[in-house]
């Protein structure tokens, strides 16, 4: 369901920006206009806490004077402001350096097919109804166990937006999309032994969301499971990343094979194209055209057509993650990843979560990671962690105040198995990941 009238309204503005850029002397330009409307409500302890009405818009323009580039943006779309914005971009371009790699994508790479990806499902939900959903969610959490002692509340968010992108090669496209979520965070215990955890569900279509009660119960279950957490002695042991943590591991890999890190030589995976970076059983592929998926798009942030492809096959790196600029810097061709990946899928293995726990045997299950201790240049990895100690495939007790450390290069090569328990809530779809061994620091 797409409102063509709204898309056309935005297209007019984008075309105006492109025309203005040409008038002001730019040899090429690209422009985007996005509008987002939304409602967020939160409820805490059985009553509404906040109601927020969101209404955002912004335009951005990038101009080229030959090989010199400048950008500017504003949220004021009056004619005067648009003109000033283009002027600001042109002024910057005049001072920028000549960069032989700068410029629009090659026209033949621009998307020409625009399948309906079924991304727009507005939720006809007023504030009162949203509050009801949030209260139902929080009630389910608070009613789950007598050990739930407090709450940070539940929230319901619904957003719907329109985005149009165009460039001076004649590309001018737009689409609408929606995104809805329900989340809940509750506390258990008291004083020095309080614990908190959360759960959320997110989808393009509100009917694809987990029920409010499921989200609340899952939040409560996760929180109660953390009660009585203790630290571990310093040791080395196998580590199982729960699916929602495994996506961070894959995210670090993507960062290291993205064009920006590569041409800046700030990656621990330089020159690794065609080499074995993961065990043979690992396949990672991008599927940009999945209907209704959170990362779907038929063209990237530069208008380049996206396409399904393998990034890692049989553990061998098949493709970097490139934009037009980074590709030219590396002497390659863009992979349609300006702005990031679109539905990255790590092919699941055949073990479910219980099977993965069994394979872990005795070791650490990580369900939370803290801090930014990942060095993309060296691959050195050291982060705060919480989770569970597992023996013979059975959870023994919750664990906190420990760190896990290693080097990503080794960690990736030493993946033992990937679970079938894929987390579908993000742009990276991956199940739990078992690593052979990491260093655990604790008491």
């Amino acid at each position: 369901m797409q409102n063509q009238e709204e898309i056309d309204r935005l297209k007019e503005v984008v075309q105006h920006l492109l025309d203005e850029a040409r008038l002001q002397g730019a040899t090429a330009a690209e422009a985007a206009f996005s509008v987002d409307n939304g409602l967020s409500v939160s409820a805490r302890l059985g009553d509404v806490e906040t109601v927020e009405y969101h209404c955002d818009q912004g335009v951005g323009v990038t101009v080229y004077f030959g090989k010199k580039k400048g950008s500017a943006s504003t949220n004021d779309i009056s004619a005067g402001s648009l003109k000033e914005t283009v002027k600001a971009a042109c002024s910057i371009a005049r001072y920028a350096s000549e960069d032989e790699f700068a410029g629009l994508p090659d026209p033949e790479l621009l998307a020409t097919e625009f399948p309906d990806l079924d991304l727009n499902h507005p939720w006809a939900l007023n504030a009162e109804q949203a509050i009801e959903v949030a209260i139902e969610c929080e009630n389910a959490a608070r009613g789950y166990s007598s050990e739930i002692s407090n709450s940070e509340g539940a929230s319901v968010n619904t957003h719907q937006g329109t985005r149009v992108f165009g460039n001076s090669s004649g590309f001018l496209q737009g689409y609408q999309s929606s995104r809805h979520s329900v989340s809940c965070s509750v506390l258990a215990g008291s004083g020095d032994s309080m614990q908190r955890d959360y759960w959320y569900s997110v989808a393009r279509n509100p009917f694809d969301l987990e029920s409010a009660a499921q989200v609340g119960e899952q939040a409560a279950q996760r929180t109660v499971a953390r009660l009585g957490a203790r630290t571990l002695g310093t040791r080395q042991c196998p580590v199982l990343f729960a699916p929602e943590m495994a996506s961070g591991l894959i995210g670090a890999l993507l960062g290291a094979i993205s064009g920006g890190s590569l041409y800046r030589k700030s990656s621990f995976l330089l020159d690794s194209l065609g080499t074995q970076i993961l065990p043979e059983f690992v396949r990672i592929h991008e599927q940009p055209l999945l209907p209704r998926a959170l990362g779907s798009a038929s063209y990237d942030a530069e208008g380049v057509a996206t396409r399904a492809r393998d990034i890692v096959g049989s553990g061998i790196l098949q493709s970097y993650i490139l934009s037009t600029y980074s590709a030219r810097k590396l002497g390659m061709q863009t992979t349609g990843n300006a702005g990031g990946v679109h539905n990255l899928i790590v092919e699941p293995g055949d073990r479910d979560f219980a099977g993965m726990l069994k394979l872990l045997g005795t070791g650490l299950l990580v369900t939370e990671l803290m801090g930014q201790g990942v060095n993309r240049v060296t691959g050195d990895y050291s982060r705060g962690a919480a989770g569970f100690w597992v023996e013979n495939g059975a959870i023994q007790f919750p664990v906190q105040e420990i760190t896990i450390a290693g080097n990503l290069k080794d960690m990736l090569r030493n993946i033992v198995a990937i679970g079938s328990d894929t987390d579908l809530r993000g742009n990276i779809r991956v199940g739990s990941i078992l690593l052979e061994r990491m260093a655990i620091a604790g008491e």
Binding site: G70, T74, A441
Partner: protein
């Protein structure tokens, strides 16, 4: 005077008058709310970046808008618009007051104009140099930095400036304004030796204009420091793992305070009882060597504000005095619900976000010990001199922060550099293990950004050299 200047830019610039604020406020107050405010903002921002020896990117942005908020009890209604127009803001006011079911505030016209202290000059930093001079500055930093070491492979330099006008109308009839400049520069270098690749990074800034980077040779000093860190990292060996004595350097390592105790002392978490510090005012949470403040009133600092985003003048708030928890950081909502006064900590990322209790500049006051004496007192431990970011779980109190430059201490001497590692501890008891506090209190160089509930705000931290008897170090050397 900022107020007149801001009224001119935000109200007159959009065809509004003070009486129009009265009308929007009247719409908000037609329901019996406890509190209401209208926050107008106009922001100019620019960034320049250099890499590979050329000026690669530049961008410029102008944004403005207004947020309208009504509060009743602990309930908040909020709407905003990027169009500062009377009909739109009246509609927003009518939407948000629907939250109200109780309250007692009576309506008043704007009759009070709040003056504010002047912690920074109301200058537009974007215009403090012309574009050619900005580029020359970046080029000079690149050139001079590359001369420092033949192993340098890449230098990246960024320069950003923001210039904000804010105007805050409150239901008590007050109108407050602030003009907020902010600049920042960062230098990152990548060095290679025998196939090993390491980076170093340094930056700084504050509520000032670009002239700040030209004082002394501050900009070049960032380059020198980035190179020094990369050189150290090229020598670094495996970091130790386990619980050990940790000496933290002065300045930026103060993110310990920000993560370990700062967030846990924000009023919202404590009103709701979700913080590990809830209900602990008057209790010992640190050794008696520790006095920690949150001070938004420091001249020109990145975390400083003349007034917070609710119009309350910022303060120097004592959080911990000689180890005893004294109080929390408050915005108006949480202060009212807890029966205390606001401390000038109500901050928001922009007009499109709700205010929350947030830190400004959080630091520990100096102690008596000579920093060298502190190192000399450690038989075996870690000396962590520089850090990346951190994070905290305010409920369990567990926090992390990641060292980016660290050394082993053996028999009272700093021996060799070790790789960066994450340190993890428990907020409510980490400061009870502080056994020595240096006399070398320093504030950070002005690079901190704090995230909470998806909102980012600039902050500062600081501390003297500290010795902590037992913190878990997350290295690989098991």
């Amino acid at each position: 005077m900022p107020l007149e200047q801001v009224k001119q830019s935000i109200l007159a610039g959009n065809g509004l008058q003070t009486q129009d604020i009265d009308r929007i406020m009247a719409a908000l107050l037609s329901a019996p709310v406890d509190a209401a405010d209208i926050y107008f903002q106009s922001s100019h921002f620019e960034s320049w970046s250099l890499e590979g020896g050329i000026i690669k990117e530049g961008s410029h942005s102008i944004e403005h808008g207004a947020g309208v908020r009504a509060i009743s009890g602990d309930k908040t209604g909020f709407a905003y618009s990027d169009r500062i127009e009377l009909p739109i803001l009246l509609e927003a006011a009518n939407n948000v007051k629907a939250i109200v079911r109780q309250g007692q505030q009576a309506q008043r016209r704007i009759d009070t104009y709040r003056g504010a202290p002047c912690l920074y000059r109301p200058v537009n930093p974007l215009k403090s140099l012309d574009d050619r001079q900005k580029i020359e500055l970046l080029m000079r930093v690149d050139r001079e930095t590359r001369k420092l070491d033949s192993r340098i492979e890449e230098v990246m330099v960024s320069l950003i400036a923001a210039y904000d006008h804010v105007l805050i109308a409150n239901q008590d009839g007050s109108l407050a304004a602030d003009i907020r400049p902010l600049v920042r520069m960062n230098v990152t270098v990548i060095m290679v030796e025998k196939g090993r690749r390491e980076q170093g990074s340094m930056g700084g800034g504050g509520r000032s204009d670009y002239g700040y980077f030209l004082e002394g040779d501050r900009a070049l000093e960032y380059g020198r420091e980035a190179v020094r860190q990369a050189q150290v990292n090229l020598q670094a060996q495996e970091a130790p793992a386990g619980n050990m004595t940790v000496v933290l350097g002065s300045g930026w390592p103060g993110i310990l305070l920000h993560e370990a105790i700062g967030h846990g002392l924000e009023g919202d978490f404590n009103r709701k009882g979700t913080s590990a510090f809830s209900g602990r005012v008057g209790e010992r949470v640190a050794s008696d060597l520790c006095t920690v403040v949150d001070d938004g009133t420091l001249q020109g600092r990145r975390g400083s504000l003349n007034i917070d985003d609710e119009g309350t003048p910022t303060e120097n708030t004592v959080l911990i005095e000689k180890g005893i928890l004294k109080g929390y950081m408050q915005d108006k909502l949480n202060a009212r619900l807890m029966g205390v006064v606001p401390t000038g900590n109500g901050r928001r990322e922009s007009y499109a976000h709700l205010p929350m209790p947030r830190m400004t500049n959080t630091y520990m006051l100096p102690g008596q010990s000579d920093p060298e004496e502190i190192i000399a007192s450690v038989k075996k431990g870690l000396y962590a001199r520089n850090f990346g970011g951190g994070q905290v779980d305010i409920t369990s109190g567990k926090f992390v922060f990641s060292a980016s430059e660290a050394y082993l201490i053996e028999n009272g001497k700093i021996t060799r550099p070790v790789k960066g590692a994450t340190l993890i501890g428990n907020g409510p008891d980490v400061l009870t293990k502080v056994s020595m506090v240096g006399n070398d209190m320093a504030l950070d160089s002005g690079v901190g950004t704090c995230g909470k509930d998806g909102q980012s705000v600039p902050v500062g931290v600081g501390q003297p050299t500290l010795k902590i008897d037992g913190l878990t170090v997350g290295g690989t050397g098991v």
